[in-house]
Amino acid sequence: MKRYISILSLAAVVAVIQLGSTLCGREYYLTQLTMAAYYSLVAVGLCMLMGYAGQISLGHAAFFAIGGYTTAVLTTMNLQAHTSSRIVSLLVQCGLAKPGTDLYGVAQLSLSPWIALGGAGIITVVIAIIIGIPVLKLKGHYLAMATLGFGIIVYRITLGTGLFGQADGISGVPQFTIVPGIAIGGGFANKVINYYIAWVMVICGMLLLLNLIDSRVGRALKSIHGSEEAASAIGIHIPRYKLMVFIISALFASLAGVCLTHYNGGIGPSEAGVMKSVRYVAIVAVGGMANLWGTLIMSVLLNYLSLRGYFGSYDDAVFGAILIGIMLFAPDGIIKTIRTKVEARVKVKVRE
């Protein structure tokens, strides 16, 4: 029951912020809050992997990029030249490829974002399995280094491959129409709808993860974090569960990548960058590691401030500094540390 109260409160806060910003005529704030919501989807997925299952990933931006680039490539690909092909005509018949025109009025036949979403999901799972099976045998620093290596490879691929637009990235990604009238993207006019789409996804994601934590599988993951030796001694097949949580968190990142790419109308290589991965790790750490709510709150706050440009050109430096500060002064995360301090104060007062 408690979990539903928290989720409902989150939904209420989301609605209040939208109403408030509309009433005050400041709807432009919603743009950054929408983007922050998608980045938070990555963060809470990583929180599950790091905080609960105890496996670090310094390459999570790669999964975001895999989702984003997959959908960008598939939905901007022009199938006009292949209309005679059976597969393409079948796709058109099923409504999974739609004719249109690009910016210059050239006829365009592009794949439906639904196909791209499915494709992104499959590619993400396949890559997560290929990377996860060998890499998750490693522990601690070694796992961190291996995932970092994976992140760097994906970053350099996006930067160096023509298909991915090299340093320019891919632009002109169409909006993602979920049902007629509700679409991810579509510019400033659509911002309220986009804000709600993003937050509904975050709320659903949180609900799924909160449920997971209290389930049999979640307990197995937390046991692995607690003691691998004891976990296998009670019959838990560790590699299987590690891979499972790795895939789940990769899918969260990939889904966020797909959505944000449609929202922004494009994606660039910086989304795959190592600094992005470090940023996600910093957010989970500052949120308190095994703390989904802490991670969500800190993620929205920090991403929002960063996207509004409060950190200026020191953006990445701020996240680096946060990481150092947290490790030194508040390894349990900022929220828990403050709460413990306040509780200690209150106790002293009560005694007096």
Partner: protein, 252 residues
């Protein structure tokens, strides 16, 4: 037929024979002990049975099917649970969750069922939680259920570890030097706990250093020295065995 049959089990580390052709049986319902001086290979023997070290040759049969070379999680799934010499609880979980985790092999709920809280997953959780509470009550630590497992006394931690190991209803319980680091009073308490567990019909194989505990509780004793079995029998026979007295008891 015995519950556990160990035949000619051997393990070499390089040229060193850590365990050399050891054979013994653990009959259903018994408490069997493995003793030996430091470095005799009894911990290695224990780990060979628990699966944390892979044996080189010989055979290990449990309920008349081979468990030779299986990894620890498969051995646990067969119904052999173990405890650790330096108690290994999950410090990030509550006492209740530790015991619920111990019932992992009894559950079926998968990832999707858990994330969506499907009815069968919820029913299973309710069942597991109830059983875990029963297990805590069995060890008289019901009031600790919500406490964090990291913040318990040594005796409480051991009770939680017992509860976790027994939660899934194993046929065989392996105890790795449970009396290590205990004083006389705590050892007496441990002995009564072990008797309590045996009362549930669980067969126990115990590796131990503490002679008084072993002589007190075990039905049969296997003595190992330099990786080989040098004697096997009832506690009274072992106490009188000249070889045993020479390599082990004589030292005390």
């Amino acid at each position: 037929m015995a519950l556990l049959e160990v035949n000619n089990l051997s393990k070499f580390f390089g040229g060193l024979k850590a365990v050399s052709a050891v054979s013994f049986d653990v009959p259903q319902g018994n408490i069997k002990a493995i003793i030996g001086p430091n470095g005799a290979g009894k911990t290695t023997l224990f780990n060979l049975i628990a699966g944390s070290i892979r044996p080189d040759c010989g055979s290990v049969r449990f309920k008349n099917s081979s468990i030779f070379g299986l990894p620890p999680y498969r051995i646990a799934q067969r119904g052999i649970l173990r405890t650790f010499q330096n108690i290994k609880l999950f410090p990030n979980l509550s006492v209740l969750e530790n015991v619920m985790a111990g019932m992992h092999v009894k559950g079926r709920a998968g990832l999707a069922a858990g994330m969506l809280r499907l009815p069968q997953a919820r029913a299973e959780e309710a069942f597991i939680s109830e059983k875990a509470h029963e297990m805590l009550a069995f060890f008289n630590i019901g009031e600790l259920a919500k406490r964090n497992a990291a913040h318990l006394s040594f005796g409480q931690q051991r009770a939680v570890e017992f509860a976790r190991a027994l939660a899934s209803g194993p046929a065989l319980l392996l105890l790795d030097e449970p009396a290590a680091g205990l004083n006389t009073q705590e050892t007496a308490q441990l002995a009564s706990q072990i008797a309590h567990i045996r009362g549930k019909g669980v067969t126990i194989l115990i590796v131990e250093h503490d002679m008084s505990l072993i002589m007190d509780i075990s039905d049969e004793i296997v003595v190992v020295s330099s990786g080989q079995k040098i004697a096997e029998g009832k506690p009274s026979d072992i106490q009188r065995n000249a070889d045993v007295v020479r390599v082990y008891l004589g030292e005390e």
